[in-house]
């Protein structure tokens, strides 16, 4: 039995301790926002915050998160209550196919939680573990900078009818 915090709630899972956390979250807990992309910790689609750090959960055994805090994309926000990072993602229309974006948002959130004014080099370092086959990297970079500015302002204004992109 492995007990940990999942999106702020205490959970206990009675499954083999060598099961990767990704499959526990997706199949046992039915939270589908975190994705399977490679099974080898190389693409970042499975990223979750483990005690605040963006972590590849496709190679992280269940036993390793005993007593820890696990936050998935579902724990960051919902369609009716977006986090600042998610608001920036929507405003910039970052996602194309969208499959990598939960992992991208997790890594961006971890970055901004630790660094409120990241440089381009900081962004490269924090985000290069998350692959995007559709090539949305420049939009991700713009969204991170927007989110950083929003977080530093301390006031979140979000109007879903307004586009922040230029033609």
């Amino acid at each position: 039995m492995v007990s940990f915090q999942l999106n702020g709630e205490a959970v206990s899972i009675d499954l083999p301790g060598d099961t990767p956390l990704l499959w526990i979250v997706r199949d046992a807990m039915r939270l589908k926002g975190s994705k399977f992309g490679c099974g080898a910790g190389l693409c970042g689609a499975c990223s979750m915050l483990i005690d605040g750090q963006s972590t590849r959960t496709c190679v992280l055994p269940l036993a390793a998160v005993a007593g820890k805090s696990v936050v998935t994309i579902e724990g960051l926000g919902t369609p009716h209550a977006l986090s600042a990072v998610q608001q920036a993602w929507v405003a910039h229309s970052v996602a194309q196919c969208g499959y990598c974006q939960s992992g991208q948002i997790i890594s961006a959130t971890a970055l901004l939680n630790n660094n409120s004014a990241p440089t381009d080099a900081d962004i490269d370092a924090a985000m290069s573990g998350n692959l995007c086959r559709c090539g949305t990297y420049s939009a991700i970079r713009s969204a991170i900078k927007t989110a950083a500015a929003t977080l530093n302002d301390g006031v979140n204004l979000y109007d879903p009818s307004q586009s922040m992109t230029e033609a």
């Binding site: 099974g39 693409c43 922040m164």
Partner: protein, 736 residues
């Protein structure tokens, strides 16, 4: 996708014999909207009495933005916000939801065709619905139609508004007008403007549903172990031993290998590792080593002229007589698609019904294959197409659907088949390898006088035909016959003809009076498919790099020399000029920094790119910046056009710098992202895009999903030459 399939069908005589008419898929009788109390204006649009407008989206969304783009057409003509439309995914029904620019109206998404295909018809459908609602409102309110307008889900009469749902019942009881006036571009409030994608919210919250996310009661998970040589068959396996492992409910030999079914995916994966399988390996593939292909292809090209694909004037003589002439060979390898969502399919099969959940670019093929494998009728087969975690052509192949149905039949269970990344890299429909033997000459006027290319390599369409024929004939022919037709057609194409996708893009851009393009077909046997930009993905490399060789040898300017050969090609000339202006070409070209230029037209759009690179002391090529100019005709959704250029460039850069699939004794060597790497954020250049001709609403539309890709590899290779003097004629680019 291109006209090669239509040409093939003509060549096979099937179209003229009427056989294909008889094989045309019947209506599947499934409506995405079934609320009879509302107004069905046509197969796409329904307005409920509560005022909810539903739109049946006829294509597949794989990131390219058609989900938003086609919905924006409806929003414009019905004067409603795009985000206020309830978008439903179309079922498999090519009569209603087929792609009008595809042969036989196939329900295929690909070839950068979605906006081209639907721009006029969907606007007309929405305009007709608008007119129907205005007519109904005029009747119900007893006013003249000139006194009312429709805007923001309301009918407006002299400052008073009525919810449009109030008029749905009357509209449903009257004939729907045809040919209602569509808006002029000057009146557009949505099209041609910046916009926020309507799928942004779900994809930013982890709530968008992909095929791999489907859950059902009593769903079991399956993995398949396949022959290390693609296409091999399992002769025997230690089935009983593996079936006894923890959590396993069954082990089955299927058409492509051995399937392990368990309640939990992790149990299935672990058990699959214990399989010991005896394989029958296919010929000739089991003897193929890809390292030998360039020399083998060169040898064949020297011995055989091949089949003529295109000819103008007398290239042979002009080249032979020229005083200034060049030759060079260019080689491009096999490539995998590597969609980030690996192939997967969920199947629930009963005696009288089959439900299939997956992401597919071809739901009608999926339905036909399901019918052929289950003997169910069209009304009993339900394809539930999801958001695709990447397509790029990969999900036009139905192999994972065939496997899942195989496993559902063998096990009697509802199953979800999930491929690993290793499965995906090693069991693709690969982009074919090509040797392009280029030659050209220049006349006294300094212009190209002749242009020749002999392309040696396998042809792609023959590999797709068995599945396609099985799919389109699924309810009338046994699967073996359908596939036989496809194999026969494919063999005929290889023997007698040239598949457009083998040579497209080698000619047609520049004005050169003498041209000859030939195809020599040699197929090592590895399964092929359409990869983003298809033939253009390799022909642009040969064409634009070889052109640069001529340019550099003659000391010409890469922008001006191209323009000299584009006197009658305003679209391509326009983007060449525009990218030069965007980059400030006249200032930067002699700055000491290193640039490469490439320009190419495909799928109706012209794109020109300039790449700036630096080279590290270790010989690493760093792509610093890319400038891009695109002419796709009217830019219906300019934000999406820009995104697709960025997407195509990054996709093409992975191929330029890293992409290669190698075979040793027929076994694909690559397996995951450590040895088949994708470009990362830290390696990605700054990209600037300018959209040319974007506001000319009468300009013929071109596609944008693929055209950003072909120019980037040659632009980078040309920049490498500028930086180092090394002319790299092979992809991926490696400095020595």
């Amino acid at each position: 996708m291109n006209t090669s399939r239509r040409d093939l069908l003509k060549m096979l005589g099937l179209a003229s014999s009427g056989l294909m008419v008889n094989l045309a898929l019947p209506s599947f009788g499934q409506q995405a909207q079934t609320n009879n109390s509302g107004f069905d204006a046509n197969a796409f649009l329904h307005l409920s009495t509560e005022g909810v407008l539903s739109f049946v989206f006829p294509r597949a969304e794989m990131g390219q933005g058609a989900f938003h783009g086609l919905t924006s057409l409806i929003a414009e003509e019905l004067n409603v916000g795009v985000a206020h439309i309830n978008v439903l995914q179309a079922p498999a029904d090519p009569k209603r939801y087929g792609n009008p620019v595809m042969p036989q109206n196939m329900q295929m998404t690909g070839g950068s065709t979605s906006m081209i295909a639907h721009y006029q018809p969907l606007r007309q459908a929405a305009a007709n619905m608008r007119m129907a609602l205005l007519n109904a409102a005029a009747e119900q309110l007893s006013v003249d139609i000139t006194e009312i307008t429709l805007d923001q889900q309301q009918i407006w009469l002299a400052g008073q508004s009525f919810p449009w749902g109030d008029f749905a019942a009357v509209a449903a009881a009257r004939p729907v007008p045809i040919g209602a006036p569509v808006k002029s571009a000057a009146a557009f409030t949505t099209l041609g403007k910046p916009s926020q994608r309507i799928d942004a919210l779900s994809k930013s919250t982890g709530t968008a549903v992909f095929g791999i996310d489907i859950e059902l009661d009593n769903l079991h998970r399956a993995v398949v172990v396949r022959c290390p040589v693609l296409g091999g068959r399992a002769k025997s396996a230690n089935i009983e031993a593996v079936a006894a492992l923890q959590g396993v409910v069954g082990v089955y030999i299927i058409s492509t290998g051995v399937a392990v079914v368990a309640e939990h995916l992790w149990d299935a994966k672990k058990a699959a590792q214990a399989l010991q399988i005896e394989w029958s390996r296919p010929r000739p593939l089991k003897s193929i080593n890809s390292a030998e292909l360039p020399a083998q292809f060169a040898d064949l090209g020297a011995k055989h002229r091949g089949k003529k694909a295109h000819e103008e004037g007398d290239e042979t003589t002009v080249f032979a007589d020229a005083s200034e002439a060049w030759t060079a060979d260019y080689y491009t390898p096999y490539l995998a698609h590597a969609t980030l969502e690996p192939p997967n399919c969920t199947v629930r099969l009963t005696d009288d019904r089959c439900d299939v959940w997956t992401g597919t670019q071809a739901p009608d093929i999926a339905a036909g294959i399901t019918m052929s494998m289950t003997d169910l009728s069209p009304e009993q087969v339900h394809i539930h197409n999801q958001m695709l975690g990447g397509g790029f052509g990969r999900r036009g192949g139905s192999d994972y659907i065939i496997e899942a149905i195989d496993i559902a039949k063998a096990s009697g269970l509802a199953i979800q088949l999930v491929w690993s990344r290793e499965d995906d890299i090693r069991n693709d429909y690969y982009r074919p390898p090509s040797l392009m033997r280029m030659r050209a000459s220049v006349g006294n006027d300094g212009r190209l006088s002749s242009w020749g290319c002999q392309r040696v390599g396998p042809q792609t369409t023959p590999h797709l035909l068995p599945e396609i024929l099985q799919g389109v004939s699924g309810d009338v022919l046994p699967p073996t016959i359908g596939r036989w037709l496809g194999r026969t057609g494919g063999a005929a194409l290889d023997l007698f003809s040239v598949d457009d996708s083998s040579v497209e893009g080698l000619f047609g851009d520049y004005e050169i009076p003498n041209q000859s393009i030939y195809q020599v077909t040699e197929d090592p046997g590895l399964r092929l498919g359409f990869w983003r930009s298809v033939g253009h993905s390799f022909t642009a490399f040969g064409k634009e790099c070889f052109l640069d060789e001529v340019i550099q040898q003659r000391g010409e300017d890469p922008i001006e020399y191209r323009l000299r050969h584009l006197q009658n090609n305003p679209r391509l000339a326009g983007v060449v000029s525009a990218v030069a202006a965007l980059a400030g070409w006249s200032e930067i070209r002699d700055s000491g920094r290193h640039f490469g230029v490439a320009a190419h037209t495909c799928f109706g759009s012209s794109v020109a790119e300039i790449a700036e690179i630096t080279v590290s002391s270790a010989g690493t090529i760093n792509v610093e910046r890319v400038w891009c100019a695109v002419d796709c005709g009217y830019a219906v959704n300019p934000d999406i056009v820009k995104m697709q250029m960025e997407s195509g460039i990054v996709f093409g850069l992975t191929a330029a710098l890293y992409g290669e699939i190698n075979l040793v004794d027929g076994e694909v060597q690559e397996s995951n992202f450590h040895d088949y790497p994708l470009l990362r954020m830290s390696e990605s250049p700054a990209i600037e895009v300018v959209i040319v001709n974007s506001t000319d609403a009468d300009a013929p539309l071109g596609g944008v999903g693929e055209p950003g890709t072909p120019p980037i590899a040659p632009a980078v290779a040309n920049a490498v030459f500028a930086a180092t003097g090394q002319r790299l004629r092979t992809l991926p680019l490696r400095l020595s």
